[in-house]
């Protein structure tokens, strides 16, 4: 393990966090809020600490996959610690556990909240909560790689540890350029949404917070009723952008290039839209009787499906009260999640496709035991190691899910609450059903259960392995 380089990169992460914190500071200045001093203090602390660490470059700059994974996991924890500090200092969320839960929920773009009255928060805390979604959505390291002049082929280890999907590739030969393109698309789309929301007569502060929440597919609302209070037009704009941010960003890069057609041929993107269309239609038909209006049913179904499959977690209606079929579909698409290479969470559509194809292949072996069949995606044969890692991912996923269920059971809440609470945090969605439904929150859990859910959120965002590596003793040995 190359400890100096891990420390050095952590130093840079702190510097970036202090830069990000200028946004709530400016907000506090505009609204003349006392709470802003806490952000200023933490930003300065991050800057001083980060500056001191990064002043000296470590001699040995070589690092490998395990250092990359450990650095990313540690950075996310350190970022959350410093990100939570202002909430505690300014008294908006006085308890350490709750502040950590809220911040981790922010950075991992989950959007699960322990707050019973969101509207009671100061503006600077509200914007910081939403901004953590935006930072966590595309990832801190992708940003770091785009901005910092780091050389060497090792940087890919950082990107691979942070970016979601079964096989993380580059879109252009160099890591730095890839990171720049990703952030370029990300920023452009965010700005587009802000402008459209402003045109739909949403106040600037709300438009910013909502756009950050949508872009990162996070889902922190700044109102107690999430998005329900806004006009149909605003809700429709948010629906469209939620779904767009759940698309693999490679598709946008292809759209910008010459060969625009190939963007529409991506298998994962086709499946993604296919699933959305089917789910929206079925739910719209199912809730049609409850709402009594076909257009409204379609609108509500589209918003909720878009919100859940992209793992955003905004809500316009209390879907907990919908018929059982709709509730079940929503829970199922919680697990499917968005596309790989997007800002969304979940198991990812591409993994689901690969798993289904593996099942088909397995059935084929029963019919023709000697048959040879290669699993293909986008008309290209998939690496055996990719297929294997997807299966291993699912197994690990199920195990962590089971263990979390077991620990949460100590709280003696009902099964649906526990199950959907874990599903909603592990898949970075936010609201689940029953007690943690759109109108509920996570405040009734005991601290132990909250830490389990925090682990699940981080594990879900970083796709499990970086976090598990932290708990593997042999990683920390010198050799």
């Amino acid at each position: 393990m190359n400890y100096p380089i891990i420390g050095y990169i952590l130093g840079w992460v702190l510097l970036f966090e202090s830069a990000f914190m200028t946004l709530p500071c400016v907000t506090a200045l505009i609204y003349k809020e006392q709470e802003g001093y806490a952000f200023l203090a933490v930003a300065i602390a991050c800057f001083v600490l980060g500056f001191a660490i990064t002043r000296k470059k470590p001699k040995n700059q070589i690092y490998f996959a395990r250092e990359g994974f450990v650095t990313v996991a540690l950075s996310w924890i350190v970022m959350s610690l410093f990100g939570a500090a202002p909430f505690i200092l300014n008294g908006d969320i006085p308890s350490f556990t709750d502040a950590m839960f809220e911040t981790i929920s922010g950075f991992t773009t989950t959007g699960a909240s322990i707050l019973t009255n969101v509207e009671g928060l100061s503006y600077c805390s509200l914007i910081w909560r939403s901004f953590t979604h935006w930072i966590g959505g595309m990832g801190v390291f992708v940003f770091l790689l785009a901005v910092l002049p780091m050389t060497g082929g090792y940087n890919m280890h950082l990107m691979r540890a942070e970016s979601p999907g079964p096989s993380v590739g580059k879109i252009v030969p160099r890591v730095r350029d890839t990171a720049k393109i990703l952030y370029g698309i990300y920023i452009a789309m965010t700005v587009m949404e802000i402008v459209l929301l402003l045109l739909a007569k949403m106040p600037l502060f709300d438009a910013l917070a909502t756009s950050f929440g949508t872009a990162g597919t996070g889902g922190f609302g700044i109102k107690n009723d999430s998005m329900a209070g806004y006009s149909i037009l605003i809700q429709a704009i948010v629906t469209v952008f939620m779904i767009l941010f759940g698309v693999n960003f490679n598709a946008y890069y292809l759209l910008l290039g010459k060969d625009k057609k190939s963007a529409f041929k991506l298998e994962e993107v086709r499946w993604y839209f296919g699933i959305i269309v089917v789910c929206v239609l079925v739910i719209a038909w199912n809730i049609h009787d409850v709402l009594g209006n076909a257009f409204l049913a379609l609108h509500e179904a589209a918003f909720q499906v878009g919100s859940i499959i992209t793992t955003t977690g905004f809500a316009t209606a209390n879907f907990d009260l919908w018929p059982q079929l709709s509730r079940t579909i929503l829970v199922i698409i919680m697990f499917i999640g968005a596309c790989a290479g997007s800002t969304g969470g979940g198991i990812k559509v591409s993994r689901i496709i690969i798993l289904l194809k593996t099942v088909k292949q397995e059935i084929g072996y029963f019919i023709h035991p000697r048959s040879v069949k290669v699993i293909k995606m986008d008309d290209k044969a998939l690496d055996k190691s990719t297929v294997r890692s997807v299966s291993a991912f699912l197994v690990t996923y199920v195990i962590i899910f089971g263990v979390s269920m077991l620990i949460l059971a100590f709280d003696n809440l009902d099964m649906v609450t526990n199950f959907t609470a874990i599903a909603a945090t592990f898949n970075n969605i936010g609201p689940g059903l029953e007690l943690v439904g759109p109108n509920g929150n996570y405040s009734m859990f005991t601290p132990v259960a909250k830490y389990v859910l925090m682990f699940d959120m981080l594990a879900g965002r970083l796709e499990i392995y970086p976090l598990l590596l932290l708990f593997t003793p042999s990683v920390w040995k010198k050799n």
Binding site: A65, T151, G152, G153, N155, M156, H157, G169, K170, V172, P173, R174, V175, R176, D177, K258, D383, S385
Partner: protein
């Protein structure tokens, strides 16, 4: 620049490493996905799995925007096809590795008709380098600049040499020859020395001089300068063939030992003047029988690196021959250097050097082109030859007043065929070519020698 490299073997990998270190956008194509996986993990490059001669695969690798395609697969035919398709698809420059002697003889025609920018033959290049060393066995490495008018020679200072414990100023005073010491390797360090630097025994020093001056210099310090009279070559591969041909042309007797009878017959047909021995060189008796003790030079060129090292160690122990060892694959330079085997030849580095030189020259559309480039010491120091054009910021200023970067030396000025050893008052003029020795990598232009 956008560069596509097809084929990721030993040579391909070395090139990829060099080019990605010099900040080019490199895309690698190989049919083997595990090789691609490995190379994308280690270098900042993008990988595409597929057949490099396929138009679809080349499109995926971005041939439309590529500036250069380098085909380095095992097969000459595939390389040529890759280049041909790339030329038609993207109109980019192309470099192919062509090693079959049959094609090599017709390379001019092939280059012309297929529109290749460069054809590279690692075996022939390695053979040329070995032949150069055997013509001047006191040096362990010789590179030439300015069409052979300037040479860069590398040799080791022996314990009884008069250079031992001698500062460079004293060397200039006592020996009075127009020779410049431009780089010194001591242990793992590479030093670009100044006048007060004191040489020690076991230092490997590189000097720049005209051939005449360097011969004079070696005579003055008491080192023999005549070429070897005979050479024993173990392993009858392609390099051996090219080498034997060159050596025979300069009047050096050649003896080639190879295990394979059919190959021996082939060689005997191709090289009637050489003595071809069908035998196992790993057998000491064979070597003794063929007169290893009296051989003036011994070149191990078998396909097994470890075998070559052992053969050379054995030859060193029982003869006074000049020893040349070819190393294809293994990369434990530090350990191999400890064996003091004399001259080591790495065909993959020679090829990579040629390509990097071409790429740098390509980058300078106009201006002071890099004419020649050598890696003096692995990746630690380079010698470059620049052509000076009118807009170069170094023209007409006395060298003593130029603000040069540290660890950088102007080693020689070639003015219309006349070789000048630079002094503080010398000036660089338009049309000169100058040789720069430096530990700064990736100089592209003569202006890069100045401090920012």
């Amino acid at each position: 620049m956008q560069i596509i490299v097809v084929g990721c073997g030993k040579v391909g990998r070395t090139i990829i490493e060099q080019l990605s270190m010099e900040n080019h956008d490199v895309t690698v194509i190989d049919t083997n996905s595990s090789v691609i996986h490995d190379v994308t993990n280690n270098f900042d490059v993008m990988g595409v799995v597929g057949n490099g001669a396929s138009y679809g695969v080349q499109t995926e690798a971005g041939i439309e925007h590529a500036d250069l395609l380098i085909a380095m697969t095992d097969s000459d035919e595939l390389n040529l096809l890759c280049c041909l398709i790339a030329k038609k698809a993207g109109g980019c420059n192309t470099i192919a590795r062509v090693r079959n002697p049959v094609y090599n003889n017709e390379i001019g025609f092939i280059k012309e008709e297929l529109g290749l920018s460069m054809a590279i033959n690692p075996e022939a290049a390695a053979a040329t380098e070995i032949a150069r060393i055997l013509r001047f066995p006191s040096a362990i490495k010789i590179e030439t600049f300015a069409k052979g008018k300037v040479e860069l020679l590398k040799f080791i200072i022996g314990e009884d040499s008069i250079l031992n414990n001698c500062s460079l100023i004293d060397v200039a005073k006592s020996i009075k020859s127009e020779v410049l010491v431009c780089a010194v390797e001591r242990g793992d360090d590479v030093i670009i020395p100044n006048g007060s630097f004191v040489l020690k025994h076991d230092d490997t020093i590189s000097i720049v001089a005209s051939p005449k001056n360097s011969r004079e210099f070696f005579q003055k310090i008491g080192v023999e300068t005549h070429q070897v009279k005979n050479s024993m070559i173990v392993g009858g591969g392609t390099i051996a063939y090219y080498l034997a041909k060159e050596l025979l042309n300069s009047g050096i007797d050649v003896k080639i030992i190879d295990k394979d009878h059919a190959r021996c017959e082939q060689l005997s047909e191709l090289l009637p003047e050489a003595v071809i021995i069908n035998g196992d060189a790993t057998n000491q008796d064979t070597l003794m029988e063929e007169g290893l003790v009296h051989a003036e030079s011994f070149v191990s060129l078998t396909g097994i690196d470890e075998g070559n090292i052992f053969l050379s160690l054995y030859a060193k122990s029982c003869s006074k021959a000049k020893i040349v060892t070819k190393i294809n694959r293994i990369s434990y330079d530090e350990i191999i250097n400890d064996f003091h085997l004399g001259s080591l030849i790495y065909p993959k580095f020679i090829t990579a050097e040629n390509i990097v030189r071409y790429v740098r020259a390509m980058q300078n559309t106009v201006g002071s082109n890099v004419e020649t480039l050598y890696k003096i010491i692995g990746n630690k120091a380079e010698a470059l030859e620049f052509l000076i054009t009118a807009d170069a910021p170094v023209v007409g200023i006395p060298l003593g007043e130029l603000k040069l970067k540290d660890n950088l030396l102007i080693a020689s000025i070639n003015r219309a065929g006349e070789i000048l050893t630079p002094k503080g008052k010398s000036q660089i003029q338009v049309g000169d070519t100058v040789i720069i020795v430096t530990t700064h990598m990736s100089l592209h232009d003569i202006k890069d020698i100045l401090r920012d």
